[in-house]
């Protein structure tokens, strides 16, 4: 399968190229709609950070399944730097935000850029540290994992509150931060399920029944996260619905008034909750990597759709540009998985 091999320098160059392509499409005057980069950034920060956060959580809880996928999840760390870079290039887009005209003490351009950039860099730095030490050592490095998780939770929360929630300022939901980092973990599990299907349990050369058991655990996690997602979604929706305050429901009403977004909302619930919940209930489905990967794809599509639902009405975007940007970053991720030996140190000793 190894058709091409990359050196580490080539990998970073490729990632830089991907970032360049994303920016070219964003600022190349292809379309007057300008929300694409924001959406790509929010979606991919969830995916990339989610992969590492899942690995960190698995290390901390000593989950056994991680042995099959450790390197594939850890190798994502250079992407975090790319995302920080892309965020910096979001600066010309700050006029998308309603508070841009009337900046306040918290919501103002420079502070907004600096705090989020710092957090993205912190996530990259702690994530890289964690990835390098976790890949090299057989025993888990708890301190690095904890530090990364702290940065991850802070960063995802702030991305949710700053990048997404403040689009509809003064709309507010205090759960959104926690909702975002749970969704990032959910995306991480979905990617893990996809990797199991594509790579057949990584390149660790383990016995098939061990890989099978690990895959079943990932499928169970996906099922569990679907319930958790459903619960958090419901917890937010119920309170907004029940309170029925114009400043809270305005956000939802504005979106549900257009038929397209209404259908999108239904699709999101279908893809993120109903499909994994019903689909993965049967044991036989959980044992088939192809079916689990299909469900995982649905989940990822659902998460993407939800970002679209949040961002689209406030920041119109060109679908082609958005898809292209996500495709480019997706390719970047695949290249990283393929060339993981270059960005991660060789494991010392046996796999634990």
């Amino acid at each position: 399968m190894m058709l091409v091999t990359f050196k580490r320098r080539d990998l970073y160059l490729l990632l830089l190229l991907a970032a360049g392509l994303v920016l070219l499409f964003e600022y190349g005057k292809l379309t007057p709609n300008r929300g694409a980069l924001l959406l790509t950034l929010v979606f991919w920060s969830g995916l990339a950070q989610g992969c590492l956060a899942l690995a960190a959580a698995a290390e901390l809880t000593r989950a056994r399944w991680i042995a099959s996928l450790r390197r594939e999840l850890l190798c994502v760390h250079p992407l975090l730097l790319v995302l920080a870079l892309l965020f910096l290039c979001l600066a010309p887009r700050l006029d998308l935000y309603p508070w841009h005209e009337k900046p306040g003490p918290w919501l103002n351009g420079p502070f907004f850029l600096v705090r989020n950039l710092l957090l993205l860099l912190a996530v990259w730095w702690t994530g890289r540290r964690f990835a390098l030490s976790a890949a090299a050592r057989a025993e888990p490095c708890q301190r690095d994992a904890v530090l990364f998780l702290f940065a991850f939770v802070a960063c995802q929360s702030l991305l949710a509150f700053d990048l997404v929630m403040s689009l509809a300022y003064p709309w507010m939901s205090s759960l959104l931060g926690a909702y975002f980092f749970v969704e990032a973990l959910y995306a991480g599990v979905a990617l893990a399920a996809l990797l199991f299907f594509v790579l057949g349990g990584g390149k660790q050369r383990q016995a098939p029944e061990v890989i099978g058991a690990h895959h079943r655990d990932v499928a169970r996690l996906l099922f569990g996260f679907s319930v958790l997602w459903g619960g958090l979604f419901f917890a937010q929706f119920l309170l907004l619905w029940y309170g029925n305050l114009p400043e809270e429901t305005g956000f939802i009403v504005a979106r549900l008034q257009s038929a397209g977004l209404r259908n999108l909302a239904l699709l999101v619930i279908l893809a993120c909750f109903v499909a994994p919940f019903i689909g993965l209930m049967a044991r036989r489905v959980k044992e088939r990597p192809a079916l689990v990967a299909l469900v995982a794809l649905a989940v990822l599509a659902g998460l993407f759709g939800e970002r679209l639902f949040f961002i689209l009405p406030e920041a119109p975007l060109h679908l082609g540009v958005t898809l292209f940007q996500n495709l480019v970053l997706g390719m970047g991720w695949l290249v990283l998985v393929h060339g993981q030996g270059e960005v991660l140190p060789e494991a010392v000793g046996g796999e634990g």
């Binding site: 809880t61 306040g104 918290w106 919501l107 939770v153 929360s157 509150f161 003064p170 507010m172 939901s173 205090s174 759960l175 959104l176 931060g177 926690a178 569990g224 319930v227 619960g231 958090l232 917890a235 937010q236 119920l238 309170l239 907004l240 029940y242 309170g243 305050l245």
Partner: protein, 440 residues
């Protein structure tokens, strides 16, 4: 305190035999100290019912609640005790699904704690009703003029949630007990053997029984896991669906669930650290297991701190006058002292558990568990009382003072809780012998 014949009976005993003897020794004739403790708790229970009697006789005026703070210590206690119940299910069901081995040291005691705390919690809505003899208005049946209860009301959700939780926890507890009851049937004599024999449903440990037992245990764990999250979510919605500053915020559900598990884990420490020592269970409930549980306590404490930060920061972010005033009032208003104790106990002191040596220090864990429960009780008090004391119109502001009757009932509820736990220790095996045998 070496009253355990099992451990002294010689080193040649098989591990399983030693385990059974140790656990059975706990169920032997009660010592004077045990009876003394039980008697003390019994007195507190008597006090509870006496005060309740006075409240029924004279009316709710005896309690300190009044307009505008019409929810006070009773509702605080309700939320507190329901919260205590939660970590029992977490330990028995969630850790079972995650295959965490240390759960077998705690699960029996924690499940018993769940049932006991739920029954204590169930008292408080009844006390708070005032006219408790018409409690059946809460039940879903068409009452006066065939009107059903209002299913859009969170108080009715509560009835469903707590009842469901009670029944499912009881089923889970009982299923887990069956093989152990069979052991009691085998080892005890006379009428006790017969009683435990009936209770064990004639469990014989056949392959067919085990096959279905494992499945039903798994399913009950799988049902109990989302249930435990939803019960405290619903309790939190008792507050959050109303439009009261400080209550109406979407993070309430996960925030309350994390708080419940925090206080529940603390209560597991409070109960099991003395239990382990008095009953000589050191060989089975190991320091490693306490350490693992301490990590859960630390984790939930971090979530609770995250929620404190989020709700306060977002009130400020949003700029709503009433929300901002509520959070200012909480930290610097009439009850500021309680607020800062709460922060100290729930957010700051658990941070000591980052150090391994503190996590393994049982004395500190015991003290910390008491403090965390003080903090968690205060958290509910702070949330409930502050928000009601400062709603929108300044003409409707007011403060609340806890009356002696409320204090007495609170104290009595602790007496009831500990009395029932003491009875559990004498009547049922405090460790899940069957599951521990698997890992011996």
């Amino acid at each position: 305190m070496s009253q355990e014949p099992g451990l002294n009976a010689g080193p040649n005993l098989a591990p399983a035999e030693r385990l059974e003897r140790t656990v059975l020794a706990a169920m032997s004739r009660p010592s004077l100290r045990y009876l003394g403790a039980l008697g003390l708790c019994g007195l507190l229970v008597l006090m509870l019912f006496a005060i309740w009697g006075v409240i029924i006789w004279q009316g709710m005026g005896i309690a300190g609640i009044n307009h505008p703070v019409s929810w006070g210590v009773f509702i605080t206690n309700f939320v507190f005790w329901v919260g205590i119940a939660h970590s029992g299910t977490l330990i028995s069901a969630v850790l079972y699904l995650f295959r965490a081995r240390f759960r077998t040291s705690f699960n029996r005691a924690a499940e018993a704690m769940t049932l006991i705390a739920l029954s204590v919690a169930g008292l408080f809505p009844l006390i708070h009703l005032g006219r408790v003899w018409i409690f059946y208005y809460l039940l879903p049946y068409p009452s006066e003029r065939l009107i059903w209860p209002n299913f859009r009301s969170p108080l009715v959700w509560d009835v469903f949630a707590v009842t469901t939780y009670m029944l499912v926890s009881a089923a889970f507890f009982y299923i887990g007990l069956l093989p152990d009851l069979a052991i009691l049937r085998r080892r005890l004599q006379g009428w006790r053997s017969r009683v435990y024999g009936w209770l064990s449903l004639g469990w014989s440990g056949s392959l067919d029984e085990w096959r279905h037992y494992n499945r039903v245990y798994l399913f009950l764990a799988a049902f109990a896991t989302p249930l435990v999250a939803s019960v405290h979510s619903i309790v939190s919605w008792d507050f959050a669906v109303s439009i009261v500053p400080g209550w109406h915020t979407t993070i309430f559900a996960p925030y309350f669930v994390a708080g419940a598990i925090l206080s529940g884990s603390a209560m597991v420490f409070t109960l099991t650290i003395p239990m382990r020592r008095i009953l000589g269970l050191e060989a089975y409930i190991q320091v490693d297991h306490f350490e693992a549980l301490a990590k859960i306590l630390l984790f939930t404490s971090l979530i609770v701190s995250y929620s404190y930060i989020c709700e306060t920061a977002l009130a400020w972010y949003h700029g709503n006058l009433f929300e901002m005033e509520q959070f200012r009032y909480r930290s610097f208003g009439d009850y500021w002292f309680l607020y800062w104790i709460m922060i100290l106990c729930n957010s700051l002191l658990p941070l000591t558990l980052w150090r391994k040596s503190w996590r393994r220090n049982l004395r500190w864990l015991f003290i910390l568990s008491l403090l965390v429960n003080v903090g968690m009780w205060l958290e509910r008090f702070v949330i409930i009382v502050n928000s009601l004391a400062r709603e929108y119109s300044p003409y409707a502001w007011g403060t609340y003072q806890v009356s002696l009757a409320e204090l007495g009932i609170t104290l009595g509820s602790f007496g009831l809780f500990f009395a029932m736990f003491l009875l559990f220790c004498k009547l049922l095996p405090v460790l899940s012998m069957t599951e521990i045998k698997e890992r011996l």
